[in-house]
């Protein structure tokens, strides 16, 4: 696809500049604190975009995104520790997550309504319980791995993944398949009547979404020096993806990016409290968005801009 043919070149100026700045950051800033923070923003961008593909385009609410994140993390971590090349391990994590998505998607997408949401929630929670019971231990890297641990390659992996996830949303939105997904979200019967297979489009969205979520989980496992295996299945991964996407703007490309940045910065500001205050605030914001402002921050800024323009033209 010729990028320039899609629109004015200025549309790509800001994203390209942003990626350039992000790519140069580790060369300019030496404090790991900030690199870590940026890493988390990128990780959450990838996670939120993966959720966004299914919910924002195909309209399916996945309440168990943590399952795919967790499977990716668990598989890649075990492969990596047992000596497999980490990149192959990360890829394997993504593939395995996609496989589980197929298992859950096929039976639940044939039925409508609540079944997919319940199925994903059930899968995530039950996998968490089983992991907690079967592997109740801390996953600590072997000392040889810790010695050669370096944040920089992980940061670039996160940048790549966030970029791939965002580009996937961009390409989908501008493709026939993406249009089909949006048609399914709008009205399944009408989509079927116009020859768009609802099952096919929902499944495809789920497979892409779970593959990206699996990769993100695998990246998390590659990033953490130590964590409890159970943690990667924690429902917070679902909460975070959902909240970031909605507060930013569901179904948009920039929404999850803006949402992730807000989320990580906000979480950092409230980190000194013992309780996760940021979750209470973001939970409330999320409800407000669902009820009153379905477009999230992106829509809100658009409205403010419109309002400012109408003031200035008066």
């Amino acid at each position: 696809m010729n990028m320039m043919a899609l629109g004015k070149p200025s549309r790509f100026l800001v994203p390209v500049l942003l990626v350039g700045v992000l790519a140069a950051t580790p060369l300019l800033i030496r404090e790991t604190y900030y690199i870590n923070l940026l890493f988390l923003v990128l990780l959450f961008i990838a996670l939120a975009q993966s959720w966004n593909i299914l919910a924002g385009l195909a309209g399916q609410v996945n309440l168990g995104h943590a399952a795919f994140f967790g499977i990716g993390a668990l598989a890649s971590r075990i492969l990596w520790i047992s000596g497999v090349n980490p990149f192959l391990g990360i890829l394997a994590g993504g593939v395995l997550a996609t496989f589980f998505a197929l298992i859950i998607g096929l039976p639940t997408f044939r039925l409508r309504g609540i079944y997919f949401a319940i199925g994903t929630l059930a899968m995530a929670e039950i996998l968490r319980h089983v992991t907690k019971n079967a592997l109740p231990i801390l996953s600590l890297l072997p000392s040889a791995y810790i010695v050669e641990y370096d944040l920089t390659p992980r940061y670039y992996l996160a940048l790549t993944l966030a970029l791939i996830a965002s580009l996937t949303v961009y390409i989908l939105v501008n493709s026939k398949i993406g249009l089909g997904m949006m048609a399914v979200q709008e009205d399944e019967d009408a989509a079927e009547a116009s020859g768009v297979s609802a099952l096919k489009h929902k499944l495809l969205a789920l497979l892409i979404s779970s593959f990206l979520a699996g990769l993100t989980g695998a990246l998390f496992a590659f990033y953490q020096v130590s964590y409890y295996y159970e943690l990667s299945f924690s429902p917070t991964w679902t909460f975070d993806a959902l909240i970031i996407t909605f507060v930013g703007g569901v179904g948009t490309i920039i929404g999850p990016i803006v949402g992730a940045a807000f989320f990580v910065v906000f979480r950092e500001l409230f980190a000194r409290f013992l309780v996760e205050v940021h979750l209470i605030v973001f939970g409330a914001l999320f409800i407000i968005v669902v009820l009153l402002l379905p477009g999230g921050i992106i829509e809100a800024t658009g409205r403010v801009r419109q309002w400012a323009r109408s003031i200035s033209s008066r």
């Binding site: 319940i118 909240i243 939970g283 409800i287």
Partner: protein, 293 residues
């Protein structure tokens, strides 16, 4: 060996009764309003804490504080319906389910973290003086507080059944569940019916919460687990009847106990997932599906 087996079945039935009670509240709201409140488990958790504090601060017996826990949750339900879910009930059915899921999810997150803020993340039990007592029949132990839970659950469900079938308000709730447009034409105030149904669902969560706290334990994190169990019971039993849902709860409880017995405690939770998929594949309308209530 047989005694251990029987013991597992009995414990499964006792827990299953609470699954049933928890689900009835959720299913009432979903059946009538097409609002899937996934913060139902967090409401149960709040009910548990209400009775916990009533006992530890004022010495109120949990079986007495059930009424207070019910009342508190009923009022919370009125608030939540009037403040939040009323906006959702004005939407079309598909969007309504989706948005209620999302709002419930956000609400659950807020309630979970508020509970940690107020009461710390510790696991607690409501322990009146008789908490450890129990009798034994043929070597099968019957813990007193859990048997009490079974009785209260059955009683609550019987009363609900009477209310829905014999009172005017109950009948109007059933009519709304059946067909809200016709119900409107018959002069039923839909929004009032929704308000009563939602608050009633919350009150049932209050009862369940106290019983969970007495027989088992509560912590801010139990919400999602109870929501999940209730959702699985809905899939197993369908929305056909209250007694069917209660049976579904018992079934899940026993199935989990058998899973723990035969394939080991580590994998006992997988049983629910396998049950869930089997029902979806072979009998998606639920095992005991009949017409509405």
């Amino acid at each position: 060996m047989i005694a251990i087996f029987a013991q597992q079945i009995v414990l499964g039935l006792l827990l299953g009764a609470l699954y049933g009670l928890a689900t009835v509240g959720l299913a009432l709201v979903f059946g009538v309003m097409k609002v899937l409140n996934v913060s139902h488990g967090e409401l149960i958790m709040f009910g548990g804490y209400a009775s916990f504090w009533l006992l530890s601060l004022y010495g109120v017996d949990p079986y007495l504080s059930i009424f207070l826990s019910m009342l508190i949750l009923f009022l919370m339900g009125v608030g939540l319906q009037k403040g939040l879910f009323v906006h959702v009930t004005k939407l079309g059915e598909a969007v309504r389910i989706k948005n209620s899921l999302l709002i419930g999810f956000g609400l659950g997150l807020i309630m979970h973290n508020l509970a940690i803020l107020f009461w710390t993340a510790d696991e607690r039990s409501i322990t009146p003086a008789y908490a450890g007592l129990g009798t034994s029949i043929f070597g099968v132990v019957l813990p007193l507080t859990r048997v009490g839970g079974l009785f209260v659950a059955v009683l609550a469900i019987a009363i609900l059944h009477y209310f829905l079938n014999r009172t005017y308000l109950g009948k109007s709730i059933r009519a709304t569940a059946e067909d809200w447009e016709s119900a409107t034409l018959m002069g039923i105030d839909i929004q009032k019916t929704y308000l009563v149904s939602f608050a009633l669902g919350c009150a049932l969560a209050g009862v369940a919460g106290t019983l969970v706290g007495v027989g088992y334990y509560i912590s801010p994190a139990i919400g999602l687990e109870w929501t999940l169990k209730s959702l699985i019971v809905i899939v197993l039993a369908g929305l056909g009847s209250i007694s069917g849902i209660f049976l579904g709860g018992l079934l899940l409880g026993v199935a989990e106990a058998l899973g723990g017995f035969f394939i080991g405690m580590i994998y006992r939770d997988l049983v629910a997932l396998i049950l869930f998929f089997s029902v979806l594949l072979f009998k998606p309308e639920g095992l005991f599906a009949r017409r509405m209530r």
